[in-house]
């Protein structure tokens, strides 16, 4: 692919803050007119990558170009071609919404009258006209985010950086922001969007790059990422630890069976889930193992995310929620939960970390 088609390019970006290696060699590219979703947990390095590409931070190593300009050697040119909506509120709380937008426009050499016209246009587009002349202090979180987005679009820049534009927003505000981002595509804008939400990346991005601990751990279209972790997942909770259990279910699953520290929870990836619960119950019964709970789940995008970044999350949420699911579904043994939204507890997170390695490997296939 011709290099000129990439509006944003990161090559081996490295950045260290004190003892923290924020970026350990990150590569990605965003073709003109597309949206790239940069996905990862807190502290993965997303914001650092954005700060380097928007000229706010200087990389220790590697190279970044935006609209064909080098972010270190031509920061002025880069700034002329980008709009930034940063994660922290970066607007002036003492100015009105309109004053904020006009200020950004004027500082971008727009000229006062064209800055005013553009501000009115954007305020209308983001449904902020009524609040336009109120001081920002009185804005809700959602209104601030929309104004931040509007500020980033003042000069109609060809490249936009949106750092977690919907974090902390209610669903209505979120969908408004999504609509605004989708509209940009019609104008041929190139967008780098960072997010912690998979559904957001799924809904908006043409391509997703997953980062964790300052490295890219997966790169593909949303579909490719889901395909790559197509396998379902099995989790069994035993009444008491039993060494025969692993041997009993090993033939039924793909890959290794992971046993929790207390010996009661077994988890593994499985290729097909039809009739699986029945087979597992029979196999365990035959081995003389008593079972409290069996769960077979289809992967959601959240699972892909957790499986890729699993090790990181397990550190924070250790096997605390083991008992959570045991009250339900012992009788029929199967809880088919295709949509794990919002119900992630310690148990399922921990379980996915167990086979995270395997799935991360399959993700490598996507990358090449």
């Amino acid at each position: 692919m011709a290099a000129a088609e990439e509006m944003i390019q990161a090559e081996g970006l490295m950045k260290r803050y004190g003892s923290t290696q924020a970026l350990a060699g990150v590569d990605f590219a965003v073709p003109a007119g597309t949206i790239l979703g940069l996905l990862g947990p807190n502290g993965a390095g997303k914001t650092t990558a954005v700060r380097i590409l928007t000229t706010l931070a200087v990389p220790d190593g590697g190279r970044g170009t935006v609209a064909g300009f080098d972010v270190v050697r031509q920061p002025g040119e880069v700034r002329r071609h980008i709009g930034v909506a940063a994660q922290d509120a970066t607007l002036d709380p003492l100015l009105t919404g309109r004053q904020n937008l006009v200020l950004v426009g004027e500082l971008s050499d727009m000229g006062r009258s064209s800055a005013r016209n553009r501000a009115s246009e954007l305020l209308a587009q983001f449904e902020l006209t009524d609040a336009a002349d109120r001081v920002l202090k009185g804005y809700s979180g959602g209104m601030r985010r929309r104004l931040d987005l509007a500020a980033s679009m003042m000069t109609r820049p060809p490249v936009l950086f949106l750092d977690e534009p919907t974090t902390g927003l209610d669903p209505t505000s979120r969908s408004r922001v999504w609509d605004a981002i989708r509209e940009l595509l019609g104008d041929g804008v190139t967008v780098l969007l960072t997010t912690q939400y998979l559904d957001e990346a799924d809904a908006l991005a043409h391509r997703i790059v997953v980062v964790d601990h300052g490295r890219v751990i997966a790169d593909g279209t949303p579909l490719e990422l889901k395909e790559a972790s197509r396998s379902a997942h099995l989790q069994v909770t035993l009444s008491e630890p039993n060494s025969a259990a692993v041997g009993a279910i090993a033939p039924l699953v793909a890959g290794n069976v992971h046993v929790s520290d207390d010996g009661r929870r077994l988890s593994a990836g499985v290729d097909a889930s039809t009739g699986l619960a029945t087979s597992v119950v029979r196999a365990l019964d035959a081995a003389g193992v008593t079972v409290d709970n069996i769960e077979v789940r289809q992967p959601s995008l959240d699972d892909v995310f957790f499986s890729l970044t699993g090790g990181h999350i397990v550190e924070e949420v250790t096997d605390g929620g083991g008992e959570d699911g045991s009250g339900a579904a012992v009788g029929d043994g199967v809880v088919d939960g295709p949509d794990a939204d919002g119900s992630e507890d310690g148990a399922s997170v921990g379980a996915y970390a167990g086979n995270g390695h395997r799935e991360a490997e399959s993700m490598e296939g996507v990358q090449s």
């Binding site: 000129a4 064909g68 940063a86 922290d88 200020l103 004027e106 060809p158 104008d187």
Partner: protein, 284 residues
């Protein structure tokens, strides 16, 4: 292999870069207006330059006025007003330190840094806004003074010159305040600059009382304190009583020159230093 040229999106034309000077002036003006809006939105900040001068002038004139004899004669209110102007303008530079520190601690600075603007406009715009509020403050001090009996004894040009002398010195001081603001950990610690440096600096001078009654060592400090030169210079320009003229030291004998030299030297040292600190604080 295809070589597509980068197609700019609909409606975009890269912001033209104006002539460097025109662009910089425009950026400074935009930042100045922003800071003026701030001051108007924070009543407490505005009271520093509106209410405080009125209050201090009245309090000093009526409380100390009768008790302080002026060596060589003259009324205390005529003596006081130049000192009152200096006191208000010098202490209000604390606002520069607090304002810059606040800018750095809020995310706003990141937005400025990602815009194609002249970066130092953040600093210069701040100092311009503070200069304009200083002018307002000077006006209020002058009007209050006239109301309580201050009468300058010089022509208009000389009177305006007296105001400009203090304003120039205060402007130079804003760059010291900027250095403090750029190096302080929080806006609160930047505010302490006022109490630790600015108030003692104004009080240990000839601004409020004649220095002849101070202990010898303190009198020496007061004689060489730049505030004393500025205040004495203004008294000379205004044609008001200036007992410091009896002190045999160069700055007290040539107070206008001493005030100008002090101001230029402070400006020459601290403006570039502030630019350096600003760059250091905003580089990562």
């Amino acid at each position: 292999m295809t070589t597509t040229t980068l197609m700019p999106p609909v409606g975009f034309s890269a912001p033209r870069s104006k002539g460097a000077v025109v662009g910089r002036v425009a950026d400074v003006w935009a930042m100045t207006r922003r800071n003026l809006v701030h001051i108007s939105r924070e009543p407490m900040q505005l009271s520093d330059v509106t209410l405080q001068p009125v209050l201090f002038t009245i309090l000093f004139v009526y409380i100390f006025g009768g008790a302080i004899p002026i060596p060589g004669g003259g009324s205390y209110v005529d003596y006081l007003l130049a000192g009152m102007l200096a006191l208000n303008l010098v202490t209000s530079t604390m606002g520069t330190a607090v304002g810059l520190s606040t800018d750095l601690h809020e995310g706003m600075i990141d937005r400025f840094r990602a815009l194609p603007m002249w970066r130092s406009a953040v600093l210069v715009g701040r100092s311009m806004a503070d200069l304009l509020t200083s002018c307002l403050c000077a006006l209020i001090v002058g009007i209050t003074g006239l109301a309580v009996g201050w009468r300058p004894g010089a022509n208009y040009i000389s009177i305006v010159g007296g105001f400009l002398l203090v304003l120039f010195f205060a402007y130079a001081l804003t760059w010291i305040a900027a250095c403090v603001g750029l190096n302080s950990k929080s806006p609160e610690s930047a505010a302490s600059f006022g109490f630790i440096v600015l108030f003692p600096m104004t009080f240990v001078s000839n601004a409020l009382v004649p220095t002849q009654h101070m202990p010898g060592w303190m009198q020496a400090i007061a004689t060489w304190n730049p505030v004393s030169a500025v205040v004495a210079g203004t008294r000379v320009l205004w044609g008001n009583p200036n007992p410091s003229g009896r002190i045999q030291a160069w700055p007290m004998q040539h107070p206008v020159w001493a005030a100008l030299i002090w101001s230029v030297v402070l400006l020459a040292i601290f403006a570039p230093l502030a630019a350096h600190f600003f760059k250091r604080r905003t580089t990562e």
